[in-house]
């Protein structure tokens, strides 16, 4: 069942620059969609339409059947949680707990529910020890986790993450990967804007490739990532595991999803799950 639908959406900035041209996209409940493309391809502009921050110049965006033009961002945000690229653009409260409570209070949650959701979010993101600390003194990775905690605390149906891996060390990225898989398992609809193909590859999302404000490819990540000509045109690189897979003379029927699978196959310890 379609939850988010873009129908012939075009968007022209006030400066006259066309950011989106005739984009049509339908995303079902529980789907994970990754949007990739070079800088200025229109990825962020596209996801900003989902919670009505931007309204299309032409065409329409529907969220659960509601035209984003006919409602406010605050109303749509109850359903769509957006985590922006730079956490410093949203943190302002005197303590981490108040930062997490902010949106829930805006949405009119009862104090009891706010308290329950706060405890869950801080525990889930490993931020309990910072409960009374100022969010401004946290490290980059902790701030990023806090912005995610702020959003998941109000339990939106759709989660939009703009460049979640930027500025994260390897360990943080691994933690983010785990969080993603957990979100996927809870049936959330996830939009993921990222340049980081290595991060996206093991998640195996539906992939939307953008270039010059248009959707140039939409489908299974394994199929799109195999099309080198398309990727070069959109200035997207292939994941290293896929390049390794393509370079092997004897290989399994499906590409490796992580290095352990690749190691086991190459070392001959065990057959990859996709081996025929």
């Amino acid at each position: 069942m379609t939850l988010i639908e873009f129908k012939g959406v075009s968007f022209v900035h006030e400066t006259g620059v066309t950011a989106l041209s005739d984009v049509s996209l339908a995303v079902g409940r529980g789907e994970t969609v990754a949007i990739v493309g070079e800088n200025g391809a229109g990825k962020t502009t596209l996801v900003r339409h989902i919670n009505g921050l931007l309204k299309p110049t032409k065409g329409s965006v529907f969220v659960d059947g509601v035209d984003t033009r006919e409602t406010t961002t605050a109303t749509l945000s109850r359903k769509v949680g957006v985590a922006f690229q730079n956490p410093d653009h949203q943190l302002f409260s005197e303590s981490v707990e108040n930062e997490v409570k902010f949106a829930m209070r805006n949405f009119g949650f009862s104090e009891e529910l706010v308290s329950q959701r706060l405890d869950w979010a801080l525990k889930f993101f490993g931020l309990e020890q910072y409960r009374k600390s100022s969010p401004l003194v946290l490290s980059g990775g902790e701030k990023k986790r806090l912005t995610l905690a702020c959003i998941l605390a109000w339990d939106p149906e759709v989660v939009v993450l703009d460049e979640p891996t930027v500025g994260q060390d390897a360990l943080q990225k691994e933690k983010l990967g785990q969080i993603f898989r957990l979100l996927q398992s809870t049936g959330k609809t996830i939009f993921l804007v990222s340049h980081d193909v290595e991060f996206l590859w093991p998640i195996q999302p539906r992939l939307v490739v953008m270039s010059g404000g248009r959707v140039v490819a939409d489908g299974k990540i394994s199929k799109i990532m195999a099309d080198r000509e398309l990727l070069e045109g959109a200035r997207v690189t292939q994941p290293q595991l896929l390049r390794l897979y393509a370079g092997l003379r004897r290989r399994p029927t499906t590409p490796f999803l992580d290095v352990l699978e690749a190691r086991d196959w190459i070392g001959g310890k065990k057959e990859s799950p996709g081996a025929g």
């Binding site: 006030e14 945000s77 949680g81 410093d88 653009h89 949106a103």
Partner: protein, 247 residues
């Protein structure tokens, strides 16, 4: 918001006014400012405003200056209302509000047509200490960046259910806190990083550094300056009835 914000920000445009020496642009702007202050009747001040718009058109910045005037009209309306309500009369209330618009737009003409580099040259020419020049010019240069930050912060808070237009005046003012705190914090962090980057690139190592670009007064700069000064003198003398022009 974006529409309004362009009114004071420099944009590179090819126009005869942009090509002028920045000192001449400053002179013209000051002249408009002075005439706005000495004008005593509504037709005079309206004429000044019209002249500013003509210069804006020559500078191919009419729309941008128009934005400044549109934004300032809110304050002009307030000035009109206060003066009218406190018994200064309709004509005086109009005079003060139009004067305000003329002053704002004459200042805007200078900032819209003068790049931060040119601003720096003028300040150095007036022997303002180098550190103050640097701080001022950097602040001007960062206005568009800070504005962009403000828009992004507003988007982030709107996405967390904050409604700026909801509630009474007190609530609306309180709604600005989630914008102002990240904006100030980001600006402070950015200024600290900039200071470190400047020091890392030897800022301040020479007491009197050389300059790659300098100001040069060409014949058309001198002609414009002279013509504008003559016009200013004539208008001022007319306003103070030193000699009446045939009308």
């Amino acid at each position: 918001m974006y529409w309004l914000s362009g009114g004071f920000v420099f944009r590179r445009v090819v126009s005869p006014f942009h090509k002028l020496d920045p000192r001449v642009k400053l002179l013209v702007s000051i002249e408009f400012f002075v005439v706005s202050l000495v004008s005593t009747t509504v037709p005079e001040i309206a004429l000044v405003l019209f002249a500013v718009l003509v210069v804006s058109a020559v500078a191919r910045s009419l729309r941008r200056i128009g934005r400044t005037i549109a934004f300032s009209s809110l304050f002009a309306g307030f000035i009109f209302a206060v003066n009218f309500l406190f018994g200064l009369g309709l004509l005086n209330a109009i005079l003060y509000s139009v004067r305000f618009l003329a002053i704002i737009s004459s200042t805007s003409v200078f900032f819209v047509t003068t790049s931060p580099d040119e601003l720096e040259q003028i300040m150095k020419w007036t022997r303002v200490p180098r550190d103050i020049v640097f701080a001022f010019v950097t602040a001007v240069r960062f206005i568009p960046v800070v504005m962009l930050d403000a828009f992004q912060i507003m988007d982030a808070q709107k996405s967390r259910g904050l409604e700026f237009e909801k509630g009474n005046v007190v609530k609306r003012v309180r709604n600005m806190v989630p914008i102002l705190i990240p904006l100030v914090v980001n600006s402070v962090i950015r200024s600290g990083e900039l200071a470190e980057a400047m020091e890392s690139r030897a800022y301040g190592s020479t007491p009197k550094p050389t300059s790659l670009y300098g100001m040069r007064l060409r014949w058309y700069d001198a002609a414009t300056a002279l013509a504008s000064l003559l016009l200013l003198s004539a208008v001022t003398l007319y306003i103070y009835h030193v000699f009446p022009f045939p009308v």
